[in-house]
Subunit: 354 residues, 5 copies
Amino acid sequence: MLKFIKKTTKKIGQSPGTITHVGEKKVERVTLQVIDYDLSRFEEKEVQTVEDCFPLKESSSISWINVNGLNEVHIIEKLGTHFEVHPLVLEDIAHTGQRPKLEDFENYVFVVLRMLSFCEKSQELKSEQVSFILGNNFVISFQETEGDVFNSVRERIRKAKGRIRKMGADYLLYALIDAVVDAYFIILEKIGEKIEVLEERLMNNPSQDILQKIHSMRGETIFLRKSVWPLREVITNLEKGEPDLVSEKTSIYFRDVHDHTVQIIETIETCRDLVAGLHDLYLTAISNRMNEVMKVLTIIATIFIPLTFIAGIYGMNFKYMPELEWKWSYPLVWGIIILVGGAMIAYFKKKKWL
Amino acid sequence: MLKFIKKTTKKIGQSPGTITHVGEKKVERVTLQVIDYDLSRFEEKEVQTVEDCFPLKESSSISWINVNGLNEVHIIEKLGTHFEVHPLVLEDIAHTGQRPKLEDFENYVFVVLRMLSFCEKSQELKSEQVSFILGNNFVISFQETEGDVFNSVRERIRKAKGRIRKMGADYLLYALIDAVVDAYFIILEKIGEKIEVLEERLMNNPSQDILQKIHSMRGETIFLRKSVWPLREVITNLEKGEPDLVSEKTSIYFRDVHDHTVQIIETIETCRDLVAGLHDLYLTAISNRMNEVMKVLTIIATIFIPLTFIAGIYGMNFKYMPELEWKWSYPLVWGIIILVGGAMIAYFKKKKWL
Amino acid sequence: MLKFIKKTTKKIGQSPGTITHVGEKKVERVTLQVIDYDLSRFEEKEVQTVEDCFPLKESSSISWINVNGLNEVHIIEKLGTHFEVHPLVLEDIAHTGQRPKLEDFENYVFVVLRMLSFCEKSQELKSEQVSFILGNNFVISFQETEGDVFNSVRERIRKAKGRIRKMGADYLLYALIDAVVDAYFIILEKIGEKIEVLEERLMNNPSQDILQKIHSMRGETIFLRKSVWPLREVITNLEKGEPDLVSEKTSIYFRDVHDHTVQIIETIETCRDLVAGLHDLYLTAISNRMNEVMKVLTIIATIFIPLTFIAGIYGMNFKYMPELEWKWSYPLVWGIIILVGGAMIAYFKKKKWL
Amino acid sequence: MLKFIKKTTKKIGQSPGTITHVGEKKVERVTLQVIDYDLSRFEEKEVQTVEDCFPLKESSSISWINVNGLNEVHIIEKLGTHFEVHPLVLEDIAHTGQRPKLEDFENYVFVVLRMLSFCEKSQELKSEQVSFILGNNFVISFQETEGDVFNSVRERIRKAKGRIRKMGADYLLYALIDAVVDAYFIILEKIGEKIEVLEERLMNNPSQDILQKIHSMRGETIFLRKSVWPLREVITNLEKGEPDLVSEKTSIYFRDVHDHTVQIIETIETCRDLVAGLHDLYLTAISNRMNEVMKVLTIIATIFIPLTFIAGIYGMNFKYMPELEWKWSYPLVWGIIILVGGAMIAYFKKKKWL
Amino acid sequence: MLKFIKKTTKKIGQSPGTITHVGEKKVERVTLQVIDYDLSRFEEKEVQTVEDCFPLKESSSISWINVNGLNEVHIIEKLGTHFEVHPLVLEDIAHTGQRPKLEDFENYVFVVLRMLSFCEKSQELKSEQVSFILGNNFVISFQETEGDVFNSVRERIRKAKGRIRKMGADYLLYALIDAVVDAYFIILEKIGEKIEVLEERLMNNPSQDILQKIHSMRGETIFLRKSVWPLREVITNLEKGEPDLVSEKTSIYFRDVHDHTVQIIETIETCRDLVAGLHDLYLTAISNRMNEVMKVLTIIATIFIPLTFIAGIYGMNFKYMPELEWKWSYPLVWGIIILVGGAMIAYFKKKKWL
């Protein structure tokens, strides 16, 4: 659970604006992908050095520079300096573990988001930081690893599907953010499925390891919530078209993303309620089971303890015990035993314990 | 419970504004019903093709086009294009699972609601998406299936009952939304009855399956709440007459709907409290029952264990045990047994365990 | 508990503005009482027909028309039409179960409140709807039954006590609302007493029926809260003198009512906390009692089970058991039994279980 | 706990502005103390009749009239009438049980506070209403009993310590309110000590009476909270210098009181959390203890029940039981008994139950 | 836990503006360190008397006066008087236990923070008050003890690292506050580690002392929360550049601190949730363990109680018991015993209790 509390000790005491990569090193080498397009033209390439991207700043077409990997900070620094980005912003890009935020500068907008993915192998949530710099005619995106979440956007640019080639860099930013937000729905479905599976298993056999699973589900929803709540604020700002770089025409599209975010938040809250409900259900199942165990003990003990007492009586060795001599005592005792036992069982039946 | 988390994976990666039907296919063929009326005239017909509705856009009378079924998206698309509706809106209409919202465009207003119904057969809540496009002189409504909730409105138009024929399209929208909101009261009554039944059964016999029912009631109230909360915001906007298309005269009527919505929300919150109370009651009933079981065990065991010990003593085979030879030992032992047993019972009576 | 969810099915599907009485029929015949007064003059009468009230609309003195009973809607309708009240308002008056609200129209103010009373016989809260129409020089009040809550106001008008005869219709409205709000304090005291009684009984003997009482107390506080929360908003509006018909001079008096309302709300919240505390106390008392039962079982069982074992050993029939032949074995065994038993008791004393 | 719900039935039905003392009669005779001072002069006296205070209204020096006791309402009335105080305000002064509030009139400010003290004898919180009327050059304070909380202020005036003699009546009000608020800290310390004592006792021996203490602590924090929350609002208004009678120079001092109030509120919230934590701890301690009891029972019972069975076997009286005749059977059975018993103990040791 | 409720009784009754040291005496002698710098020059010295600092007020370079220790109030008083600080501010500086706040005066800004450190030896959180006075060209900082948290700032000034030497006193304040806030992350990591350790131990062996640890962790998070929440408000004010002394250029840096504060608050909330989760887990683990104990008892008792009864039957001494004479009775009884015991075990296996 500790992973929720990001280690940042490494940075403490450094002068602000010092760009240091804080976080796991997830890729071997940082790569840069460039897509440059306008309504009529389209070009896609993997560039070798940062300097190759520099001319894009002045070009009239829309450029999308995608940086995969944050561990070579000098690349971020060079790129940032050329595109006139504030050192504190570059610091935030390299320092993973930022909470989602939007910062509006004079000639660019800085957006940080958390991208979530579900690792099928470890059945765990994975979280990655994605940052965007939106300029007048370019978007720079920074990812920790090369992901496939932006592939649909690439595809739409390539095939000129929908409006993407007709609109500006702000629409590109919208498309990218929309792709990140859409990925949350997949996570929510996974969690929904896990809750359903747990619920079913709980009804059948509430074992110890389910408790552990519920506990970790709880941690996951807390984590998700922490990632998505600030996202809402970011999108609200974009929807209202607060940054000058986001045109009114595009802000309608952000309204759509906003609706999705609100829906995601509500679903997470529902999940939290459901997980809390599961925990209550588990506790009740446990105490029901305990009840059942106790009932069996009570029934067996309360039936046989009095009977054993009766047997004990006639096991006494007194010289003068008239019953011992009688011919029909033994069957009589058996009769009493069956009677007493039967009466007990009838009582329990009446009490609905049997 | 998974149904609360709508599957939307189908859509992910598509270009925004692509109209795809997401949701169950609930009707075989999409049908269109048209009612066209003004103060003096009234006409009702089922049209065959979308194109038949097109002239209504320009007519001076009030027109209500009701679309039953969302699975033939080309109908929605044609209709939407003719009535100049934004592609993102058409996408929302076809994509069920939207949260209630109001979007105000220049020449039309878009409203999405959730219509709830209670299926008597499966004893389950059913939820359906209803969308409205309010234009200057028309209302287009989209339902997933043909329902009977709008029948009372149709009846009022036919018989010119109340104000409906005297007022504009905004009043028609009010009448339709009012019909949807009124249906919530029926749901609430059903839930109220279910709570009452559960409460009574709980007092008599807290069985395992009641727990499951309480658990699913809880899920239902969470679901209801999620459906109604955003509704409030929608109605508030209409009540304030924010969209230009809603006249001040009509906004007084929306104030009435607003009151209903607030009442519904409060009743849902009360239901939530009551269901939570039921769960607590269940737990307490369980632990009370456990207590009772334990008491029986304790009483039987504590009475007979000492008595069995006494019998055990005189079952020993020592050669030199003077009591064994005495003439009155056996009745004496019986006396002791009765005394000890009686004392125990008196003690329990005093403790109020019996 | 179902009563909290008002049945309204009767109304659904009706055209808005249709006046239908929804609620219990509480009086046989609707009666109208009129009090007409100014600084110097005072007249009180019971009128036979609605038409008798009509002249009061134009009179220069202050008139108070009190309508007892809502089941003859034609009376409400006639009165409302003459005094130019909006049909939706009349609908609300007849349709009991409204939440408290204030609606400000051009030439009159409409206020709905809930009047609570405590039925000594059934020991239950009763709730009634009271509506007021404040005009320029008149107040019309609508009650479900003839109550005695307004008697003190009548008395003050009759005897010209305090300011009431010197001030306008708005002050009369204040006096009436104040009377309704004051009645809440009596309810709160009743509830306070019930809580105190429950608390005392809980400490002495936490029986099953107390649980039921706590549960129904909980329902009552939920219900009270639902009635009073919207009241606050109503009074705030009056206090701020928002409606034009409430003069600044009178709004100071509404500030006083506002203070009372806030005090009532805080007391209800305190009651909720106390009732929740009672439930916790009950649970703890139950588990304490369980504990005590378990301790008795444990002590008896753990003392006698080992002793019975010892007795059992010497009840064995082996041919070669040297101890059986010894002269002092029997007293020795008794010695061991007393020793073991005593050690056990000492152990429990040390553990503070005895 | 009922005391939290103030009895006010006495007042209901009275005309507003009627001054009636509601509350306990805490002093035999109402006394009036007057302190009159300016930078150079200082006079302190106990006056006999209200009329003696009347000249102070016009004097140019600062006057502080302290009224001890509220049961002689005619004194409040006379004083109030002379100083032109609104009848509703006088009603509030006499009617104890007001929630803290500030009312700003044209030529005076009315402040009501709750003064708390801790009664060492009954170990209970006591609450008293204190009201202040701040005029241009006077402060009138009303207390239920003669307290010592204002002594430090008197001392400062007498000895001309600090700024008090140099500043106006508003600063005097500040000094008095500050004295009242400072007294809360003493209460909080008492409560803190009580929590600490309870916590320690809980760790050592969670007995039944601790539960009762926790329960009453809970009531106390609820009560404290109710007293202090509205206080914050009062002080905020004074801090902002909203009433004209509070000069900007003095409002800086109220900022200090505001800080204290916020600190008190936070500490109360912390106390609430701690008390809630204590209750949880109690419950867990109880269930831990139960666990321990159960373990002892289980260990004793599970060890001896099988052994008793073995003894029982050889207590049977069958004619043909070969073991009975064997020479070493008896020691052998002892061997088996020791073996089985030892194995059980080993098992429990492994399970960490011993 | 009492330490959270600061003792302030010492101060009560004093005239406001009286500077008294309230809190532990943490250093023997108060020391003053002065750093004076501008872009080109840098001087660092430990001054002997307060008067040595006085010239710095007029110097054109940036001066940082750091006061270690608060117990010699005359030093604070002299310094404060020379730098024209309001007496109430000086009182707050000396009176530890203030909640974080910012007060903006005409020619200086006063900031109070809480500095937290984690004492490795006692494994406890320690809290210290730090105050700052920001003037036009100076910052005065007051610490309770000499700490090492400002060393990184000193280092940066000495080595002219980053922007610090190029910017004004407001940037120095930023650097100092940033250092304090950064230290919170270390605390959070410690707490995160402790939670992880507890969680692991809980899964393996939920012992009594873990409960105590969870309880004290809970207290720690409550305490942390209380320290950090008001901090947010302070930073927000600085970020918005509200005080005139904070330039717009520096307020961007405060935005960075603001992000950190929000992140810290969210992490604390997460910690609270996690600790609450731990408590629930503990309770469930306890009740699971109880369950297990009960199961063993039930199994042993229910198997052997009936068997003992069978043995008891044939221990009876009746004269006429035909079975006793039979040759194969004894083995037959053994057969029955094994059969009954086996059936029991099979039943438990089926119920999954074994």
